[in-house]
Symmetry: D2
Amino acid sequence: MIRGKRRYLLNEIEVAVRFSEVDAMNVVWHGNYLKYFEDGREALGAEYQLDYLDIAHKGFFVPIVHSEIDHSYPIQYGSKVKVISRLVDTPAAKIIHEYEIYDVNSGKLAAKGQTIQVFVTHEKELILTIPEFYAEWKAQQNWIEDEE
Amino acid sequence: MIRGKRRYLLNEIEVAVRFSEVDAMNVVWHGNYLKYFEDGREALGAEYQLDYLDIAHKGFFVPIVHSEIDHSYPIQYGSKVKVISRLVDTPAAKIIHEYEIYDVNSGKLAAKGQTIQVFVTHEKELILTIPEFYAEWKAQQNWIEDEE
Amino acid sequence: MIRGKRRYLLNEIEVAVRFSEVDAMNVVWHGNYLKYFEDGREALGAEYQLDYLDIAHKGFFVPIVHSEIDHSYPIQYGSKVKVISRLVDTPAAKIIHEYEIYDVNSGKLAAKGQTIQVFVTHEKELILTIPEFYAEWKAQQNWIEDEE
Amino acid sequence: MIRGKRRYLLNEIEVAVRFSEVDAMNVVWHGNYLKYFEDGREALGAEYQLDYLDIAHKGFFVPIVHSEIDHSYPIQYGSKVKVISRLVDTPAAKIIHEYEIYDVNSGKLAAKGQTIQVFVTHEKELILTIPEFYAEWKAQQNWIEDEE
């Protein structure tokens, strides 16, 4: 996780838990949280006009190179998940998201996590400096600043 | 299902049941049988050199236009599934597979099903006559014939 | 499909297409339609107070014994699906749903399908007559009747 | 990751990549690696008689509280994954696995990762000391030691 003063964009959505997403313990199978992270990430992208199809048209893919999840509370079938996603500003040529997943029924924090994406060309070459279109997009956003 | 004398190619595989594939009743979620059908279909294709990447190179996609499953016995986590797949000969420009899924632990028939694929060009135009490469492939196979 | 005059209950929802739900052709993998059917079935159950957890408490499970899908149009990532679900009245001890899936971006019908559920006890015994609680629930509904 | 001299148990399996597991880029969707990790973890458990159903009978669940994946190379449809799983010894009341995923077609390392499980009672109480049955199981294993 990124320490110190954080600048971020925020999105919050609710997602229903599918029956096919719970396991034999009647709780969401741990791997399905990456689907909720993706739901949050895409909702954030939609809210702030960071469109993945558009990124592809500009010549870049943004594959996920790291993801992690910390689970603290199980979510049962019949509940919903609230996904709070933050796109956290970084000087690196990376897209970093942090996530909090809440169990809507109990209000409890169920999981926290992070994903890191990089920029690659369509020829799969890693880009080490922030692409111009992304720098421009970043400059146009109203970032939220954490009081430390 | 196709009636009368059947000509078919046969493949049999075993597939482990994943923990993430069972539901809150501790049995395989019904929709996951389509993954086992796909495992069987691809194993059959590999055995008889009907390669989907190769079909794409020849200019065709073979999307599934119909699938159906009949469930008769639940499969629990800890078991395996045996998938018996038959590619059933048809004069139509279609690829028809029939499947039987057995619960390996009990030996019981768990499900039967069918998928139907058609040929479309890369421009998504439906092909109504059997493509030449597929007619040739069919002519080379040693079809099994059901005694009725 | 059920012929003749149909009595049914109706539900309509929209569901986002997840990136993880499309395949290498950039269209929804055919097996994922069973998840959309389930989304529709559960939304219908919620709208008409037919609660699956409640059914379990009354001593019954309602496993799916048949499902089928007919595909007519592919849905791409970036679109949404509209799920129209009908619980169709039947004198049998079955719960029959019919589904239509529309591609929201194009408005086109993407798929139709059906699922059939039966009643079993917690000891997995099949129930051949409609359980009392379900007969009562059915009697309380305002069924829509198709003009043939 | 655990530093210093490591003691571990090792398992190696190969798993086919399903068509339904690749995304619109024709590479395995990042979240599906957690399924391959689970395949490896269960194969290791089977090889060393650490049976999850048996653990449940002894009164414990072992939920995953942390998982992480680092991706370095994409795996395409048509390839297989080789999963190398290590259960790494730890004095804590935790089960720690480390994973390496190789793309069988190219031989390249595709991803590395880790999962951490804890012991909870069926009443969901966290166990802070190693359960006796697990201590006994650990004492019976022939651990591999890394030369640093």
